[in-house]
């Protein structure tokens, strides 16, 4: 499940080219993006995100306690 989810989340935040940095923090992915407007909140929620917090180019995707695993799965896809 996690592998699929990482790919879906990556696509929903604009794909590899849009990522400056992804940092996991227990329950969330702190994503620093080139372009915050490329984030597809509906797709993130469909991928299992509990919530999305946006502040310009920094987007926090709330994924629950598997954030560390998902972040490393996403790193593997970059």
């Amino acid at each position: 499940m996690a592998d699929d989810r990482a790919a879906k989340i990556l696509a929903a935040i604009g794909g590899p080219d849009n990522i400056i940095e992804i940092e996991p923090c227990i329950t969330r992915l702190r994503c620093e993006l080139e372009d915050g407007s490329k984030v597809d909140e509906a797709a993130l929620k469909a991928a299992g995100a509990h919530g999305v917090l946006r502040a310009g180019s920094v987007v926090q995707v709330i994924v629950g306690p598997e954030a560390d695993t998902i972040a490393s799965d996403i790193e593997d896809l970059l």
Binding site: C25, I26, Q60, P65
Partner: protein, 151 residues
Amino acid sequence: MTLTVLSPVSGEVVPLSEVPDPVFAQAMVGPGIAVQPERTAGDAVSPVDGTVVTLHPHAFVVATESGAAVLVHLGIDTVKLKGEGFTLHVVKGETVRAGQPVIGWNPAEIEQGGRSPICPVIALDASAESLVDVHEPGPVKAGEALLTWQR
């Protein structure tokens, strides 16, 4: 079955809604309660018997044998401290007892650094109704019961 969740720190029990972070305040990862810690150096203890499944310098998750996972977060935005000021007493994957010291820290230093040292204690993926006997707002000691999680 029911699971008693202990307070990881000594301080004042406050509602989760007082935590200055929307993820916790809006219970996005689960319901719970928060403790405004005493401003003295000390250890945050495990809230339950279980395994340390996630361990950061500023936060940890302990999962019980039956799969109930409790998150303790030491302060808000403390991930940015990169571990400075936190001392880990356990390693990830270690079995811990409720009340066992997990992380040493100093809430006063966190506050001096301009961050809130408040400690959300979250029953991950629980329903709000499953938490009962929740400690009333007021003083609590580390290791005292904070709430009961009905599972």
